[in-house]
């Protein structure tokens, strides 16, 4: 028997005698697709509707809403009313936040759980410990969408140098753990490029160089990784940097791995070679090379681009055949308009 089974129903609890429970449906209605609730849930939400009707804001309302949230963490009307109650009672929001820690861990994929935290932090204005809390959740669920978006909101909203300072190291840690984690790559873009310039990062040439070296090293580690390639493309587009700047880096990724590659102790930071055992050529590199050709716009270059797209369509990335054919057609238009 669980703890909640031994909790008395509100209907049988004298402390709630003064509240009139309100059922969801009238007796006559015959709803379609009904949910066959437990008695515990039905009882609790009947009393919730009762106190909403009277507008009560009290400690027992906090108990009731907490109870319902445990049974149905997505009940947004209950969250809304709980928040209104906390504010009306001038309640201890720090204690509320602590209470929420447990709920967030159990129900981390629920919108309302994260949104309630956000409302509390907006009131408390204590975002720094949240970063550690978020990191704890992400350790369990490394790609949780709400959690990453909440972290980004926190950083942007408070825009505090101390908070920003830890983000690049944090992303690097996450990418060491899993270089394919696209949520982490997106976070890096957010921190470095999308939400203004970080203190000390004002020389954008240096920033670009650092970021290019970072992403190239990660591509060299595991070339068949769309997250890294999308990041590379993203920063080049964002800074209006021609793709052709990376020609020397790209070419080794567009051919099968050579047995006569230079020995591994020869490091080239500008153009790190694919690591041992890489599966080459990789589709993203072929596409990238095609776009380098397209930047040229001369007929011969465009022909080369089209050949690469056809190679993708017929060999390397067959599922996207119709898309690569679209890219080939778009490439040909560059010649037409250049005549």
């Amino acid at each position: 028997m669980s703890a909640s089974d031994s909790k008395p129903l509100y209907a049988e609890n004298p402390a709630w005698n003064d509240v009139t429970p309100i059922p969801q449906h009238d007796e006559q209605s015959n709803p379609m697709a009904p949910i066959l609730y437990t008695q515990e849930y039905k009882d609790a939400v009947d009393y919730f509707r009762g106190i909403v009707r009277t507008g009560e804001k009290s400690a027992r309302v906090l108990e009731l809403t907490e109870h319902i949230i445990h049974l149905n963490p997505a009940h947004y009307s209950v969250w809304q009313y709980r928040y209104d109650t906390l504010i009306a009672m001038n309640a201890d929001l720090k204690a509320e936040l602590l209470l929420m820690d447990g709920i967030a861990t159990t129900h981390m994929k629920t919108y309302q759980v994260w949104h309630h935290r956000r409302l509390l932090i907006q009131q408390l204005k204590t975002p720094i410990p949240e970063l550690a809390f978020i990191a704890g959740i992400l350790e369990i669920d490394t790609k949780n969408y709400h959690t990453w978006a909440y972290r980004q909101w926190l950083l942007a909203h408070f825009n505090d140098d101390v908070m920003w300072a830890g983000e690049l190291p944090y992303v690097e840690e996450m990418l060491i753990y899993d270089v394919r984690n696209n949520s982490a790559w997106h976070h890096r873009f957010f921190v470095v490029w999308a939400s203004g310039v970080r203190t000390g990062d004002g020389n954008r040439q240096d920033t670009l160089r650092r970021e290019l070296n970072f992403v190239k090293s990660k591509i060299s580690l595991a070339p068949n990784n769309d997250a890294a390639w999308n990041y590379l493309r993203g920063i080049l587009n964002h800074t209006s940097t021609p793709f052709s700047l990376l020609r020397d880096f790209i070419v080794p990724y567009t051919v099968p791995q050579s047995s006569s590659s230079p020995p591994s102790y020869v490091l080239d930071l500008e153009s790190p070679l694919p690591s041992e055992g890489s599966d080459l050529p990789c589709a993203a590199a072929l596409e990238f090379l095609a776009e380098i050709h397209e930047e040229d716009k001369h007929e011969e270059s465009i022909k080369n681009a089209v050949l690469l797209y056809k190679q993708l369509a017929s060999e390397q990335d067959k599922i996207r055949k119709s898309y690569w054919e679209h890219r080939a057609r778009e490439a040909l238009k560059l010649v037409e308009t250049n005549v």
């Binding site: 697709a33 149905n72 068949n224 587009n237």
Partner: protein
Amino acid sequence: MLRPTPIDNHPTPTSYDQRETERILSSLLSESPYPPTLNRNTHLNFLARALFQGFPKHYTAQDASQPWFMFWLLQAFNVLGAGLDPANKQRAIDTILKAQHPDGGFGGGPKQAPHLLPTYAAVSALAIVGRPGEGGGWDQINRKGMYDFFLSLKQPDGSFHVSKHGEVDIRGTYCLLATATLLNLLTPTLTANIPGFIRSCQTYEGGFASASQPYYDPDGNLMHSPRPALGEAHGGYTACALGSWMLLKPVMSDEEREGREGILKENVVRWLAKMQGGEMDLGGFRGRTNKLVDGCYSWWVGGCFALLEGLGVKHDWSAIDGEPQSASVPESADADADAEWDDIEDELYNTKALQEYILIAAQVSSGGLRDKPPKNPDAYHTSYNLAGLSTAQHRVRIVEPEYASMSDDPLLISPDESSTERDTRRRKVYETAYYWKEVESQSRVLGGMKNRVNATHPLFNLTVTHARGMLRYFYGQS
């Protein structure tokens, strides 16, 4: 010999999960008959059980999504070619109306606070089962209350809270715009600044995130930059963004449509195309880069391709330099069938492979469709897998609008708009929403006509018939 996703001698948790999924999915191929069969009747029974017997107690966690269940179940019924009898239609109407809040808008259930998402679900469900007149549902919608509810949620950056004190994200934007379009509630006041918000949600990957963070200058003006996206590009949010963009196109300024506020279309196309899984994923769609395929993205991502033409992405299928349309050499055993499919493939994704995923991986033999094996089916995945099957089978496109004369609507008179401006605006909105048609000669049904499902309106995820019925009524067209 099927090729798994390459690991480059550097396994990580992502690649472990991907390999495991590929193992499970590709093992289905040897077990499944080909071509696969849509088990229409078992799915209808699955849906009917939910509609008439109800949901077991673990669905308590969905108690705030009751209108969604009505929409998912009723729309799935529709796509499969079934409908309710008049008595049950009335029961459905009555059930849905109970979720309407006295002040306007629909909530997740009777006596729940109004919320944009169940509002969209309820109105969409009423488009399916409702009608004008007493007890028909349509006339019982409190349009004025709903409009006021919408405005109460509007934020200066063009976004909307989904409910009072609720989260801000682009799902709310889509749900509001789709509902407002169907019910003839779009006004300049309502739509101001929305395009800029949508644009700000596009990430460097090309897809769209849940929301963006506004920054204001000391005078309180919204800054163009920075305006970072919150969360990575995601299939659900992308569907909402593109649907919203299409719905707003008729009322956008040129600057909003094409200028620096315009969305980057080729980036969208690339991201959408890259979301399709490979052969060991059976051609299903994932929702984010490097995550696993899931049947619901058959609609959220697959369904977006139907919007591309309307968004201005041209893809004409004339020959490249005089060569045959299909540049590839089909390698599968069924080379003739592949070549035939290639000749009619007019989408920028592999429609045949998506149908294979849905029919082979997503279908559950005991009824319903799922994310992927070994997960259980549910109403949400059943609905969106079937919507995805519909979009993969049929081409529904915008056709030339015909002139539509507007009757006036005193509810929506705004002081800074002349009646001519109002009529012109609403006509354009109506035409954008109404004039979609199935191009029947270009259907491509894997496994033959026994697997055919009904076509779906790309903007609303309703049949064209149902969308048009509601539009005609609320725009005063006979």
